[in-house]
């Protein structure tokens, strides 16, 4: 019983440590710069809605938002099918060199990203893809593959072999068995991977910084980083916090929507059903 109480206390404390700072960001976004520094935990005297207006106007967040949305969706549309296909082969169809190839994919997760940036810059320049949304999309797909393949391989390995065998006995080809049986079974994994990738892509900064040079094709993180830097020189912290809220809210919202899918699929559970 004591152990249970301790567990519950931990659950509660961690939840509090997550919620309080986030509410604090929200509250701070309504304060004047002076209030932020002199009474950081006090309530705003009068809510500063102008902070949001300034952030919106100065950072041009609407346009960056659209750019980020296009790039994120396009990346997922390419990434998830081809990532799942590769992961499926790694999980179910051992072949000579499979370990080596899988290792090559894993390696990508470990190599520090920003040192590939200079060679990557030349490569994209040669392909005529510099400063284009499709160039950024393809790069994002490539850089998201290691995580995607790694996690999905694990998920495909946990799927029961019997389902595949049953499908094959029913006369399905291997490709058809994948699309009709195994892929739907892996839906919980795909969703988790998709959400995590979407969030990662939404927050991605270094690659976009180098690839996207023109202002009108900036993604959201570039816009926010810009805002952050600008605020450091102008000390308009109110606008910065408002910008942070504008940035966080859609991510949290998207996550909240997907949360139900994750929840549902985890409850139903492909293995249980």
């Amino acid at each position: 019983m004591i152990r249970r109480a301790v567990v519950n206390l931990c659950l509660f404390l961690f939840a509090l440590s997550v919620i309080v700072p986030l509410l604090w960001v929200l509250m701070t976004a309504f304060k004047t710069g002076h209030e932020i520094f002199t009474s950081p935990w006090g309530l705003p005297h009068t809510p500063q809605w102008e902070n949001f207006v300034r952030a919106w106007e100065e950072a041009g967040i609407a346009r960056y938002f659209l750019n980020s949305l296009i790039v994120t969706l396009a990346t997922l549309a390419i990434l998830l099918p081809i990532g799942a296909m590769a992961a499926y082969v790694f999980a179910r169809y051992p072949f000579r060199g499979a370990k080596w190839l899988f290792g090559a994919f894993l390696g990508g997760m470990m190599f520090p990203l920003f040192l590939t940036i200079v060679p990557l810059f030349f490569l994209l320049a040669r392909l005529g893809m510099l400063d284009t949304l499709h160039g950024l999309t393809l790069v994002y797909v490539a850089y998201s593959l290691p995580f995607t393949v790694f996690v999905l391989t694990g998920f495909f390995q946990t799927l029961p072999q019997e389902m595949l065998e049953a499908a094959l006995i029913d006369g399905c080809g291997h490709a058809r068995a994948f699309w009709k049986v195994m892929l739907p079974l892996a839906k919980p994994g795909i969703i988790v991977v998709g959400v995590f990738n979407a969030i990662g892509l939404w927050n991605e900064y270094p690659l976009a910084l180098v690839i996207m040079t023109s202002d009108e094709r900036r993604t959201l993180p570039l816009g926010i980083a810009n805002l952050l830097m600008v605020e450091q020189y102008q000390s308009d912290w109110g606008a910065l916090f408002a910008g942070l809220v504008i940035v966080m809210l859609p991510v949290l919202l998207v996550y909240w929507l997907f949360r139900d899918r994750i929840h549902e699929t985890m409850i139903a559970g492909a293995l249980k059903g």
Partner: protein
């Protein structure tokens, strides 16, 4: 997957149309790309200057762009041989590496030509010579200053007046004043601990100069053996250590970033802070309406060898890339920007000092009046150049200063660390060496 496929199609369409639009654009007769660091003063002034220049020179098209991390975008463009025509890359760019690699051109030929819109005279003579001297390597001028900043201490004017305190000019005055301030429950001095560069240029170097004369600092910059552990630097380190031991630095300052420490100052929780003349513009959005800040030089030793009027300055240079496509136009545009008229405008709009002679006749904002006076009186000008010449040495000096301020090392250990770092730089054959020759400063 349908939504995703649709998004992909949209993406491709947008990209394709962007290519078509950019191909169809009419090229003006001559165009210029200017990439600028977007710091506290913004880039709107340069954009405005570009529009004016375009009006004066029909057919010219100038694209001014910039952001706070412009150097990150410029690096690959320099490597690719596709740099802008004119650039102000900001403090994050390793300027001298550009010089060593032949990526920016020597400008002496142009500096000897007439200034903007004139048929005689030398452009060179319109600049403050002490600032131009910072832009040289092996006798050639590779960079050009625009505005410059002065380094010193700021004090809370109202607090000082209310308590009848006078800005301290000497070390003994400083110690006496700090005791009084401390007794009031106010931190005498705060500093931007996360970025020790402020403490280096606000405490260490002025005090080393005061103790040993300007040669002590010049020798250190020129890597003369033993210069970094000279009695002058040891004295400066002991002064820092003494302030720490007496508890005159604000508690927690070593964990504050620049805005944090500067807010402590503005909020009246600390009486003095070392900072450059950019302080006012950096904090303008959070300054209480009636806040008045005064500028002073760091207090000097009562019997110091050094010139008590010596002042530290800093520039953020502009340069012309070797592989830029329109060198002549870039130079002429920069000549326009450095004309006396534009220089005065910059002073008035942005509230900073300019490297153009005579621009100090402009209408300075209130907070700059004292710095201008200090600069006019200064007989010696110094600048932290070793930090740009030898970044590793610069980093080690800053780290050691942070450790000294935290009380983790003694002044003796401190100067040993500095000298070791200087020795490592001296021995490294791959680091090109600079020599600063002090002419007549003013």
């Amino acid at each position: 997957m349908k939504a995703g496929r649709y998004a992909l199609i949209v993406t491709v369409l947008i990209a394709v149309s962007a290519v078509i639009v950019s191909c169809g654009r009419q090229q003006p007769t001559s165009s210029l790309e200017v990439a600028c660091f977007k710091g506290g003063y913004g880039i709107d002034f340069f954009e405005q200057a570009a529009r004016e220049y375009e009006k004066l020179h029909p057919g010219v098209k100038i694209k001014v762009w910039g952001n706070p991390r412009v150097w990150e975008q410029l690096r690959p463009r320099f490597v690719a041989g596709n740099p802008p025509d004119l650039t102000y890359p900001g403090w994050g760019m390793d300027h001298w590496a550009l010089v060593y690699e032949g990526q920016v051109i020597p400008l002496d030929e142009y500096l000897d030509s007439p200034p903007y819109g004139k048929s005689e005279g030398k452009w060179r003579d319109t600049f403050e010579p002490s600032l131009l001297a910072l832009c040289q390597y092996q006798g050639k001028t590779y960079m050009l200053p625009y505005f410059f900043s002065m380094l010193g201490w700021w004090y809370n004017k109202d607090m000082f007046e209310k308590n009848g305190w006078k800005p301290p000019r000497t070390w003994s005055e400083l110690l006496a004043l700090c005791e009084k301030i401390k007794a009031k429950g106010i931190a005498p001095i705060t500093y931007q601990g996360i970025y020790p560069a402020y403490a280096v240029s606000g405490f260490l170097i002025p005090w080393a100069i005061s103790a040993g004369g300007i040669e002590a600092f010049d020798n250190a910059q020129n890597l003369v053996p033993g210069a970094w552990k000279s009695p002058a630097f040891l004295k400066a380190a002991q002064m820092i250590d003494e302030l720490r031991r007496r508890g005159y630095f604000q508690e927690g300052a070593n964990g504050m970033d620049h805005t944090g420490a500067q807010m402590e100052f503005i909020s009246g929780r600390a009486a003095m802070i070392p900072c450059g003349t950019w302080l006012h513009s950096e904090m303008r959005n959070v300054l209480p309406p009636n806040f008045r800040m005064g500028f002073m030089l760091p207090p000097v030793l009562d019997d110091g060898k050094g010139d008590p009027t010596a002042v530290g300055i800093g520039i953020e240079p502009w340069m012309v890339p070797t592989k830029g496509k329109n060198r002549e136009l870039a130079i002429d545009f920069y000549k326009y920007m450095t004309s006396l008229e534009k220089a005065k405008q910059f002073v008035e709009q942005k509230g900073t000092l300019m490297s153009i002679r005579g621009s100090d006749q402009a209408n300075y904002p209130e907070h700059l009046k004292e710095p201008v006076e200090v600069f006019r009186r200064a007989k010696t000008v110094w600048s932290v150049e070793y930090r740009q010449w030898y970044p590793k040495l610069g980093k080690e000096v800053e780290d050691a200063t942070a450790a000294l301020l935290a009380g983790n090392i003694t002044p003796e250990q401190f100067v040993e660390r500095l000298e070791r770092a200087a020795e490592a730089t001296r021995q490294d054959k791959n680091i090109p060496k600079h020599t600063y020759t002090r002419g007549k400063d003013r």
